[in-house]
């Protein structure tokens, strides 16, 4: 039962990608609602205020199974089992790297490791204990560029180079949809949030969408993606 609010008290969550938006919003949102948080980041950066809110914080190597497994295991040993897995990425940073005139295959490979394979390995680590428990909620972040092939919406031109983002983003949708078939019957929900270009003014929309998926109220919406333009 809710009264216009969603609470996450005592929920144990792993959040990937908190050094930029939207991760920077998600951590305080869940922390203030009582969640216990493990942060995973692929970038090497100084500790920030979000790290202080987290029970644990780990640097992982993008796409590397061992590094991801170790970080997840540390958290699950202490706080087993996990309730939420939120896979995000530092969109601003990613777009800075990708929106270039002549993207190269090396950039593509890095993106696949950072985005697709990191999500994949994280799922492989966290889903089995969720299945054992018979519950769990997973939220993937991707990009609306994967739907429109464009910028902010239909008829909007993409920045140069966002071809990689569009391809990876659609790939995440496909991966999520396929995995949804396998894991939803085992009590786990999996849904997505696709983000448009200008993130800064979309904080409330992102957090509302996240609450919608995590609250369990929309559990009959299987493998759906909430698009925020």
């Amino acid at each position: 039962m809710h009264d216009g609010h969603v609470f996450h008290n005592n929920k144990r969550c792993i959040i990937l990608g908190t050094k930029g938006l939207p991760g920077k919003w998600i951590v305080p949102h869940l922390y203030s609602a009582g969640a216990s948080i493990c942060l995973l980041n692929t970038e090497e950066t100084e500790k920030d205020s979000l790290d202080e809110k987290a029970t644990e914080s780990h640097k992982i190597i993008p796409g590397e199974k061992e590094s991801i497994s170790e970080a997840v295991r540390t958290f699950t040993v202490q706080n087993n089992p996990i309730d939420y897995l939120i896979c995000s990425t530092n969109f601003d940073q990613m777009r800075k790297e990708l929106d270039v005139a002549d993207p190269e295959s090396e950039t593509w490979n890095k993106l696949v490791d950072k985005w697709i394979m990191t999500y994949f390995h994280l799922l492989q680590e966290t889903v089995p204990p969720m299945i054992e428990k018979g519950s769990g909620k997973i939220v993937f972040f991707n990009s609306t560029r994967g739907y429109t092939g464009e910028g902010e919406g239909e008829g909007h031109l993409s920045p140069e180079g966002s071809i990689f983002e569009a391809a990876c983003s659609s790939a995440i949708t496909g991966m999520m949809t396929s995995i949804a078939r396998d894991i939803i019957p085992k009590g786990i929900s999996i849904n997505g949030i696709a983000l448009g270009n200008s993130l800064e003014e979309k904080k409330n929309k992102v957090l509302w969408a996240l609450d919608l998926w995590l609250s369990g109220m929309a559990s009959y919406s299987c493998g759906q993606i909430y698009r925020i333009y």
Binding site: V6, P185, K205, M217, S219, G223
Partner: protein, 261 residues
């Protein structure tokens, strides 16, 4: 000690199809959250309204008889509400009939039957929206909610699917056009809801009801159909969303049946 106000205190909600399984749950939830709720249905909803009021210890649920396929009847019903409450703040377009009596498949379906079903399922919503919008615009706040259906539903009569699909266009259009008035729109695209209506449909097809219901539960990836209570909670979550959180939203809620099965 000061009494905490409920999230929908002071709001006026109108729910169409209020006498059905989903409608009753929506009315009950919205009244529980403090809204005055007009229970609009062609059938008498007095008993259900009384039950909701006695459960909540309030007098917020109010019966309203109206044939929403007639714009004159909607105008009359709206005038009554406008006189008493000033207008409708939250409109829930939930009424639907599956199809006309007699032939429902194409091309056997009669034009009159098609039109009547379409008018209940879509025109009724349009009539209510036309009446509700000026008040929502004036006060710069409103919520319009639709119980929609997926385009790919098979075996569903054409006027029903036409009507329910029309909701998706209305959701997008109204959400965009009246964004600056803080009028927000939400379509829940529903498939297989555990209601008495679904039991009636199975019975009308001479099917074993228990077996049919069990099969429908099993079809969903979650292993169960969505319940009217779950739908009501989703609607109230949307209705209470702050203006800046959502503009228009169409949410597929089908247990993965449409695309994942």
């Amino acid at each position: 000690m000061e009494k905490t106000s409920a999230p929908l205190d002071g709001k006026v909600t109108l729910v169409t199809g209020a006498g059905g399984g989903i409608g009753k749950s929506i009315c009950s939830e919205f009244a529980r959250l403090g809204s005055i709720v007009y229970m609009c249905d062609i059938a008498d909803t007095s008993e259900v309204a009384e039950k909701i009021n006695s459960q909540n210890g309030s007098n917020l649920a109010k019966p309203l008889s109206c044939d929403i396929s007639s714009h004159e009847k909607v105008n009359e019903a709206h005038n009554l509400i406008e006189e008493k409450e000033g207008g409708i703040d939250i409109l829930v377009n939930n009424a639907a009939v599956q199809g006309p009596k007699g032939a429902q498949s194409f091309p056997e379906i009669s034009p009159e039957g098609f039109r009547k079903t379409f008018d209940i399922d879509l025109s009724g919503a349009v009539y209510w929206i036309l009446k509700a919008l000026p008040h929502m615009k004036k006060q710069k706040w409103g919520r319009i909610i639709f119980s929609a259906a997926p385009l790919s539903s098979s075996g569903i009569p054409s006027p029903y699917l036409a009507g329910k699909s029309g909701f998706i266009g209305l959701t997008k259009h109204i959400g965009n056009k009246y964004q600056e008035y803080n009028i927000r729109t939400f379509s829940l695209v529903l498939r297989h809801v555990d209601t008495p209506m679904i039991r009636r449909v199975l019975a009308s097809r001479n099917m074993d009801i228990d077996k049919g219901i069990r099969k429908m539960h099993e079809k969903s990836l979650t292993g169960k159909m969505i319940s009217p209570e779950e739908i009501a909670r989703l609607y109230s979550f949307f209705a209470t969303a702050p203006d800046e959180c959502v503009k228009d939203l169409t949410l597929m809620s089908d247990g993965g049946i449409t695309f994942l099965r």
